[in-house]
Amino acid sequence: MNIKDIFKGLSQFFLVNVIVLSLFGSLAYGQKTDAEKFTVYNPKSWIEPFNAIPINKRLNTLEGKTIVVMVDPAYKHDRQVMVEIRDELIKKYPKSNIQWIEETKPLRRLKVSKIDGLVVGAGT
């Protein structure tokens, strides 16, 4: 065996080892050559169809109308927003009757037949 063959043998040995170790190393660290693919399902429930109720015909104008602005006092930030809306409505529509209600259950106090429109602070 001459020196050339020795070098050739060593280089082949290192090349094979590099390949084997690279493959082994990547497997040892959990690296997959092809990532597993999944087809997955939706976990959410669904809403059954129902008979929809349309919203009411809108007003031509708020001028001269009775508009109730209501807010649940438990929501302080909402209350401030609704106060600002109420004040602006009063400014814009001086001939309107802008009523203010702070109550969780307005149905107890409101007479529907006397209201033209309702603005509700929705408590978030």
């Binding site: 990532a35 597993e36 693919k37 999944f38 087809t39 997955v40 399902y41 939706n42 976990p43 959410k44 429930s45 669904w46 809403i47 059954e48 169809p49 129902f50 008979n51 929809a52 109720i53 349309p54 919203i55 009411n56 015909k57 809108r58 007003l59 031509n60 104008t61 708020l62 508009i67 209501m70 649940d72 929501y75 930030h77 909402d78 401030q80 927003v81 609704m82 106060v83 600002e84 809306i85 109420r86 004040d87 602006e88 409505l89 814009k92 969780t104 259950k105 307005p106 149905l107 529907v112 209201i115 033209d116 429109g117 309702l118 603005v119 509700v120 602070g121 929705a122 408590g123 978030t124």
Partner: protein
């Protein structure tokens, strides 16, 4: 938010143009879902962007009240809500799956990040292969409807339960437990136990041999992490509440700080060798039957009570106890009752050794319950001084249980009990210790009926039998809405309630009457079955949960008109022969409402169905002799102590789907 959005929908139904104003802009989806829940899907709203004021949106508010309606907004008919695709994601990597279920958690400007479909932790990808593995553990079809889960009341089937269970990391053999758990979660009436800022959580308790079979923990460390079954089943409960019920963090999950039990809290009872009946047996399941009990509350304290129940075992520690506890160790539990801020209902976790010791001493669960309840007697004055929520409900509950209208009406020395009723104490035999929980019992459901054994077979057959009304080969099915309904009220004997949305609202003092136009059924029809379906609400006398109530259906003998009938009069100027209605003494049907039962629960109400041979005979007779069709009268014939009020939706109810309005389902064939 739910109440206010509901108010907007309510006023739209009452004819008033309305608009909701949301001071935050992250709730557009929730607004839509709430409007759908209220059957006004296009109710208008204005949303404030971050940093905007009321002044900035006033033009939007004006426009919402004045802008002409769109085509969608005037639509009145069958609304089919958008349905998400069954397959969520195809051919995706593990990371893509996680990203999908998490969603864009930072999409909201005003709340902290939250995951869309998970509890914030990674989930196991729910693939078809895994679903099929789960389905091997039940005989029920993957598309069988399990129920409707609050708070949204949406519908789900067997497959959806499997998907959530897989995501939570459950093994296939847990599947019957998950299905029973899902059914149990449907028993919670809308909003009860969901919408609160207090720190409540949920607990599932599995009773029966299945717990050991699937490897659940029921001895030491039951509330600590580490057991795969306890951890993943409990996690599945919370994923189901999120994905099936819509209990969304920051929207419907509104606690100030919350409760760690809402990540996972399911335990098992230690039933092998237990001499007392298990929790499931106590709630009506057969001896040895597997069951799951759902509780909510989950505020707890550990008591070393059972440690000291037998002092000879721990002589070194015995002397450390307060002397009064040495003589009466149950006092420790009662002290726990007294330390609770809202002492309405309790769960006591006892170890099996202590439970069996009671049994050997001749003390049953009922005896111990009564003993603790008696020991927990306090005066009205004590309650005022010591119970933080006394003025906010709890005083009223305790007073009403003791026979007073309210605590304010009772003398200072009136005796109340901290859990108002002995039944408000549940015993859970597990662990090696004693814990006291603030726990409210929701329901107990059979696990076996969701598995593969004979119980599941019987359940499946009963379900199919109920559906047989739809079978074409068995005859023609017809659904008839009520022609007229009203209630007769003793306290207002001359008042007509024909346009009321509810009926039968006060037990013993009110009666509901209802009739149907049967003219569309041919006279040669042979009636095969008759079912009277009513949307029911039971309001408890105290506490949050109603008991059973038995309603009788009686055939009316004289005609009446909807807008004139009252307790005294059946027509204007024409009285009943007997005030309160002329009806047959023998009922045509008797129905015990157990709120609620499988498949009947919906948001805030459930449907009960009255059936009996005599009802079939009534209908047959009325088809032949229409002039004798005066309908039926419904009245309460028996009730449990807790049930105070039973309401049925009348045909005038305007915030519920048709299925809640009174209807008669008749199956018939035509004779040759």
């Amino acid at each position: 938010m739910e109440h206010q959005t509901g108010t907007v929908c309510k006023f739209e139904k009452l004819g008033v143009p309305s608009v909701a104003v949301y001071a935050k802009n992250h709730v557009k989806d929730q607004h839509k879902s709430l409007c759908i829940m209220n059957f006004v899907p296009e109710a208008r709203a204005v949303f404030l962007a971050e940093g905007k004021t009321g002044k900035d949106v006033v033009e939007d508010v004006v426009a919402a009240l004045t802008r002409p309606r769109s085509k969608e907004e005037i639509f009145a008919g069958l609304y089919e809500p958008p349905k998400e695709p069954r397959i969520a994601l195809e051919n995706a990597t593990y990371d893509e799956v996680q990203t999908f279920y998490e969603g864009d958690s930072k999409r909201f400007e005003t709340i902290d990040p939250r995951s869309d479909m998970t509890d914030g932790l990674p989930v196991v990808p729910p693939t078809e292969e895994k679903i099929l593995e789960f389905l091997k553990h039940t005989i029920h079809d993957r598309h069988k409807i399990v129920g409707r889960m609050p708070p949204l009341g949406n519908t789900f089937d067997v497959e959806k339960v499997a998907i959530n269970g897989i995501m939570a990391g459950c093994k296939p053999e847990y599947f019957p437990i998950l299905l029973a758990m899902a059914e149990g979660l449907c028993h919670q009436a809308n909003n009860q136990g969901y919408h609160t800022t207090t720190a409540f959580g949920w607990m599932g308790v599995v009773s029966g041999p299945i717990a050991k079979k699937v490897g659940m923990s029921y001895q030491r460390n039951i509330l600590n992490p580490g057991n795969p079954a306890n951890a993943s089943i409990g996690r599945a409960m919370n994923l189901m509440k999120l994905n099936l019920g819509g209990w969304v963090r920051g929207v419907r999950m509104i606690a100030n700080a919350g409760n760690p039990a809402n990540y996972t809290c399911t335990i098992a009872e230690d039933v092998e060798g237990l001499k007392w009946p298990s929790l499931a047996e106590e709630h009506g399941l057969a001896k040895g039957e597997n069951g799951i009990t759902i509780f909510h509350g989950m505020k707890y304290m550990d008591l070393m009570y059972s440690y000291f129940k037998n002092p000879s075992v721990y002589p070194g520690d015995w002397g450390k106890l307060r002397p009064e506890l040495q003589n009466n160790p149950e006092q420790w539990i009662v002290d726990g009752f007294k330390a609770c801020s809202h002492p309405a209902e309790f769960g006591v976790l006892l170890d099996k050794k202590t439970a069996n010791q009671y049994y050997e001493e001749g003390i049953s669960k009922e005896d111990l319950r009564l003993k603790l309840w008696n020991m927990a007697a306090v005066t009205n004055e004590w309650g005022v001084r010591n119970i933080p929520w006394y003025h906010h409900g709890i005083g009223g509950l305790m007073a009403r249980a003791a026979g007073y209208e309210d605590w304010k009406e009772a003398p200072k020395d009136a005796i109340f009990h901290l859990p108002p009723d002995p039944k408000d104490i549940s015993f859970i035999v597990t662990s090696n210790y004693t814990y006291l929980f603030k726990l409210t019992h929701i329901c107990t459901v059979s696990i076996d009926k969701w598995g593969t054994g004979p119980k599941a077979d019987a359940f499946s057959k009963a379900h199919l039998a109920a559906q047989s009304l739809d079978a074409d080969d068995k005859g023609k099915k017809i659904v008839i809405n009520a022609l007229a309904d009203s209630q007769l009220v003793l306290a207002e004997p001359d008042k007509n309630f024909g346009q009321n949305e509810r009926m039968l609202s006060d037990l013993g003092k009110s009666r509901a009457i209802i009739k149907f136009d049967l003219s569309q059924i041919p006279v040669n029809a042979e009636i095969k079955s008759v079912g009277l379906q009513l949307g029911a609400h039971l309001v408890p006398k105290y506490g949050w949960y109603a008991g059973n109530i038995t309603i009788g259906v009686f055939r009316l003998k004289n005609d009446w008109s909807e807008n004139e009938v009252s307790w005294n009069f059946r027509h204007k100027g024409k009285t009943w022969d007997n005030p309160g209605g002329d009806f047959e003494s023998k009922p045509s049907a008797i129905y015990e409402i157990t709120p609620p039962t499988f498949g009947e629960v919906a948001a805030g109400a459930w449907i009960c169905e009255f059936r009996d041979k005599q009802m079939k005979a009534d209908v047959s007779d009325w088809i032949q002799n229409p002039s004798q069709n005066s309908g039926w009268l419904l009245k309460v014939v028996k009730k449990e102590k807790k049930t105070q009020i039973a309401d049925f939706d009348a045909k005038e109810i305007n915030d519920r789907a048709d299925m809640f309005r009174p209807r008669l389902i008749i199956n018939y064939t035509l004779s040759k």
